[in-house]
Amino acid sequence: MRVDGKRIVVVCGSGGVGKTTVSAAIALRLAEERERVTVLAVDPAKRLATALGLPKTPGERATIRVQGTRLEAQVLDTKRTFDELVERHAGSKESAQRIYDNRFYKRIADTLSGTHEYMAMERLYELATTEAWDGIVIDTPPTRSALSFLDAPKRMTDFLGGQMLRWLLWPYRKGGRMGLRGVSLGAQAFSKTLGRITGTELLSDLGQFLAAFEGMYDGFKQRAEAVLQLMRDPGTGFVVVTAPEGRSLEEAGHFVERLAEAGMHLMGVVVNRWRMAPALTVPEAVTAALAAGTPSERALAATLDLGRNLQALERRERAATEAFAGSTPEVPLTFVPQLPLDVHDVAGLSEIGGHVLP
């Protein structure tokens, strides 16, 4: 895989495939050639964070120094990013405060899917447009599916400006206009039942939340558009990380497809934790005979059995990966071998970086 002068590298993939590690490794490689590089991590593993000197609190920044190279690292703070976004668009301190105090807003990150994804993009946009970085690498939140990541900005603005929701909630809005046109009996009955089932308090909170957002909607929408533009910029590249396993590769395939549809630039797919089996093959009868021998022979039998098991595993992973490669022949694949232990130091990261960007 090659960076080709990309300024922004977005690392994505399904959960548990090693995205944070790969992003940190890429950032480290970039920092060898460029002056000002930052990596934005999302929910890094504790030991990795400690070993790298990542900041302990979300939102804070730390400088990592490795043998003459230097890069900055930060950890995403979803809530703070959202607060800043509200502050920027609210117009006044009072209306911003009204939103902060809303019970629905307080839980928005937990309840509205896509919030973490959108805030990661929002933060990236902030970094890219207001600060002078030569390289920005961003790790993305573990998404349930590839789609939720790219759809997040649209979902968010659709939700905030959603006609359907307004229509449904109009009885609960403070000062909601009576006799709103287009409200059918069915919707009223449903709204009532919904109130009965969910509690009117909750719906009125949601209604007020939407009312508070009303004036900010256009600003939000423009912002989401700008974020999407940045994602489509030729200077922004995407790296999709996957495990050599069917489900994960399938997700990677969805990602690749969606990136192409959305006009975004794929740098390549990283097949992480590739297990290379030892090549030595010995007939099973031989290992069976060795297994009845001296301690050394028994030890050799166990070693050879493990080798055979690893070969079976490699076949399974190779078959899954080849099926993927066959369906997306134009996508460059990069293989990163499984290290014997979890990566939790700079040496491990350098090794991975060398595989990702040779």
Partner: protein, 322 residues
């Protein structure tokens, strides 16, 4: 693990959760299969509609209708939307209305946007499948399940899910929905087992311990941790020291005595793989003992199989049934 193993299958619900990529669906399926040896009517239900069950067990996609399988248990895919429509039809005679609402996509917006609504609808369906059917006389065509194994939302969303009925019970203070929510709440607190699936890696272990504590703090059922994909020790007892001492030249010599030609490079390769596996196993032991301090632990082995499907689920279920 010390002491007697807790019974996984003696409640009406078994909620299986865990972070993405740890094999949650495989463990849930193995639980359902192991349970069906002991209990007559067992259902494996998924709640995210990702067709994980269909793919894993090579069965047709279940949808919102219970389907028998050849594995001794039935399967079902629960969506909040289908559960809401069923609820409206069952209790509010809103069949016609619910159809028109569905067309207008109102239901999508409601289940998407209202906090906890999705969760409480899924929990309500689980109640319907078990307690409600068991107490109902009108529904002789719907037999209750002895156990429903739930391929549940991931760990991060588990707590809101288990508490959704409590939250809604406090919001709705009267009427039939209130009484139903009380029952759902009791089902989730008193007749539900929780399994957290982990893998023996740092991140997963740390998150699982956090989840165990969060469940305890919330007064929810104490979970059992299933550690999935535990690397089997490469060397049997008694030969470990000998194995770690093996030199490539010795390997070549021993193989030559059995008429197998090899070279030192190939021998070094396979020895390194075995040593790496040994190191990995030792690290995994440390992670597992850390987990065992916070909850009862059941281990499932990593399977070196050429594919992962119904047979592998069967292998795991045998470990769970033991």
């Amino acid at each position: 693990m010390t002491g007697t193993r807790p019974d996984l299958f003696d409640r009406s619900l078994l909620v299986v959760s865990g972070k993405g990529g740890v094999g949650k669906t495989a463990v849930a399926a193995a639980c359902a299969r192991a349970a069906s040896r002991r209990r007559a009517r067992v259902l494996l239900a998924e709640t995210e509609g990702r067709e994980g069950i269909a793919r894993l067990l090579h069965v047709p996609s279940p949808g919102f209708a219970e389907r028998p399988t050849r594995y001794g248990h039935a399967v079902l895919s629960i969506t909040a939307k289908a559960a809401l429509l069923e609820y409206l039809a069952l209790f509010f005679r809103m069949r016609t209305l619910s159809r028109s609402l569905q067309r207008a996509k109102v239901v999508d917006v409601a289940t998407d946007a209202i906090p906890g609504f999705r969760d409480v609808m899924v929990a309500g369906k689980l109640y319907e499948l078990t307690w409600w059917r068991a107490g109902g006389e009108r529904n002789r065509d719907r037999l209750p399940y002895d156990l429903v194994v739930v391929d549940a939302p991931p760990t991060g969303q588990l707590l809101p899910f288990l508490r959704s009925s409590t939250a809604y019970r406090e919001l709705i203070r009267a009427g039939r929905p209130h009484r139903q929510l009380e029952s759902i709440d009791r089902l989730l607190r008193e007749d539900t087992g929780v399994v957290l699936v982990a893998v023996p890696e740092e991140m997963s272990v740390a998150e699982t311990i956090e989840a165990v504590e969060a469940l305890r703090d919330a007064g929810l059922p104490a979970p059992i941790v299933v550690v999935n994909q535990v690397t089997p020790p490469p060397f049997p007892k008694g030969v470990r020291a000998a194995a770690l001492r093996l030199e490539p030249s010795e390997v070549v010599r021993m193989l030559k005595e059995t008429d197998v030609e090899s070279d030192e490079e190939a021998a070094e390769d396979v020895l390194r793989a075995a040593r790496d596996t040994h190191v990995r196993v030792r690290e995994e032991r440390r992670y597992i003992s850390r987990l065992a301090k916070s909850a009862p632990v059941i281990e499932l082995p990593f399977l070196y199989a050429p594919s992962f499907g119904p047979d592998e689920v069967g292998t795991l279920s045998e470990t769970l049934a033991r």
